[in-house]
């Protein structure tokens, strides 16, 4: 699965791929890379964190935010993630490089969303 980590360069295109320990035929067709795997693990961790938070403070802390919408914690996570996607896309379209600055903006955006929306 993660052997792409070592073989993901142009020099290896067309070469027969060595079968790694994690290369199960069941999902090797999904073309995993460690970056995208890390992304989905991050999403899974977010959901797990929300579950733990919900166990600690049940009820989802609903409130009426600055947008005038009734939101719960889950809504705020959704808005943060969707907004982050758009921030990254706009950054790519308008600036194009040093994407990690967009990521930092997204963290700030998520904090604002969780506090005020």
């Amino acid at each position: 699965m993660f052997t792409k980590l070592y073989s993901a360069t142009w020099g290896d295109v067309g070469k027969a791929k060595e079968k790694g320990f994690f290369d199960f035929d069941l999902f090797s067709w999904m073309a995993w890379t460690w970056q995208t795997a890390a992304f989905f693990i991050f999403i899974a961790l977010c959901i797990t964190a929300m579950l733990i938070w919900e166990k600690k403070v049940p009820g989802g802390s609903p409130r009426k935010g600055i947008l005038g919408l009734d939101t719960t914690r889950g809504d705020r996570l959704f808005v943060s993630l969707l907004g982050s996607a758009f921030i990254h896309l706009f950054w790519l379209a308008l600036v194009g490089s040093v994407l990690w600055i967009a990521t930092i903006i997204c963290i700030g955006y998520a904090v604002i969303v969780f506090r005020y929306v």
Binding site: K15, M30, A31, T36, G68, F78, F86, L89, A93, L99
Partner: protein, 288 residues
């Protein structure tokens, strides 16, 4: 009395989870994986980073397709919503006319999408089609296979024919749920027909109309089959809406990476609009 807490019923949700994983989550994850890589088939992939996203976001082709998509959705909403409300207002409220109207209205909704496309294709052909031939014989220079304007006209007409019924049925249901007392009160006050519509019927239909707009937005924003069969995105690329352009890129050119990036951007736009509509609906719900 102590209530026993038994959460075992959640296990019944497992089949749905598995189903959604196989038909939605896993393919979507694969699309994410593809969007960062280049492939020439044979299951060999090379890392490309955010290149495809940048390419799609800056490509004139994507901007054009997105523009066409928004224009199409906007035009059909502008036609179908008022037309649907209008038809619902003129439909009979009781008697034998009700089932006749309802069945007539639901007919277009029952026809498979590719059949609708094929029907309208033959119907509109300029040489042998009824619509095309008639228009040409009365002096219009109509040819939807060659003139972009005609292609748009036909596509919009087809969508209006196919989907206005949905708005009609929803509005009709909304109208029927209004208590007679409102109309009696309006009559006593001597309210005009317009005032009745503006201050009684329209507010009472608000919920179903939001639903109608949301459904029509979603369906028209993801439209594929009908224009594919009718015009195939042509002439040229003039009716190539987002999904048609996407399929051209993914299957026609086998550009899996850019196509995956494009479908993710497409998906985010749909998600955003859905969220906005959903929030507005919930806001209205909370107020009323």
């Amino acid at each position: 009395m102590n209530k026993t807490i038994n959460q075992k019923a959640w296990y019944f949700v497992i089949p749905v989870f598995v189903l959604v994983a196989f038909n939605a989550a896993i393919p979507l994850m694969t699309v994410v994986n593809y969007s960062f890589q280049e492939t020439f088939g044979n299951n060999v992939f090379a890392w490309e980073g955010t290149r495809w996203f940048k390419q799609i976001l800056l490509s004139d082709r994507f901007h054009a397709a997105l523009g066409r998509q928004f224009a199409f959705t906007f035009i059909i909403l502008l036609i179908q919503i008022p037309l649907g409300i209008g038809i619902a207002l003129t439909m009979p409220k009781k008697g034998w006319g009700v089932p006749v109207c309802l069945i007539l209205m639901s007919m277009p909704l029952l026809i498979p999408w590719n059949v609708v496309g094929a029907m309208w294709n033959i119907f509109a052909l300029p040489d042998i089609g009824f619509l095309g031939h008639t228009l040409n014989s009365v002096g219009f220079d109509y040819n939807f296979t060659q003139q972009p304007g005609d292609a748009w006209f036909t596509t919009i007409l087809m969508d209006v024919w196919h989907w206005t019924s949905l708005v009609v049925l929803l509005s009709y249901a909304g109208l029927n749920s209004i208590q007679p007392a409102y109309y009696q009160a309006a009559e006593i006050d001597g309210a005009s027909r317009w005032a009745i519509f503006r201050y009684i019927e329209l507010p009472k239909m608000k919920k179903v109309l939001t639903l109608a707009i949301l459904l029509r937005f979603m369906d028209s924003f993801m439209i594929y089959t009908e224009p594919f069969v009718l015009t195939g995105g042509g002439p040229g690329n003039t009716t190539a809406f987002l999904s048609i352009d996407l399929v051209k890129m993914a299957l026609g050119q086998f550009d899996l990476g850019p196509a995956a990036a494009m479908s993710l951007i497409y998906f985010f736009i749909v998600l955003l609009v859905c969220w906005v509509f959903y929030s507005l609906m919930m806001k209205n719900e909370a107020r009323s």
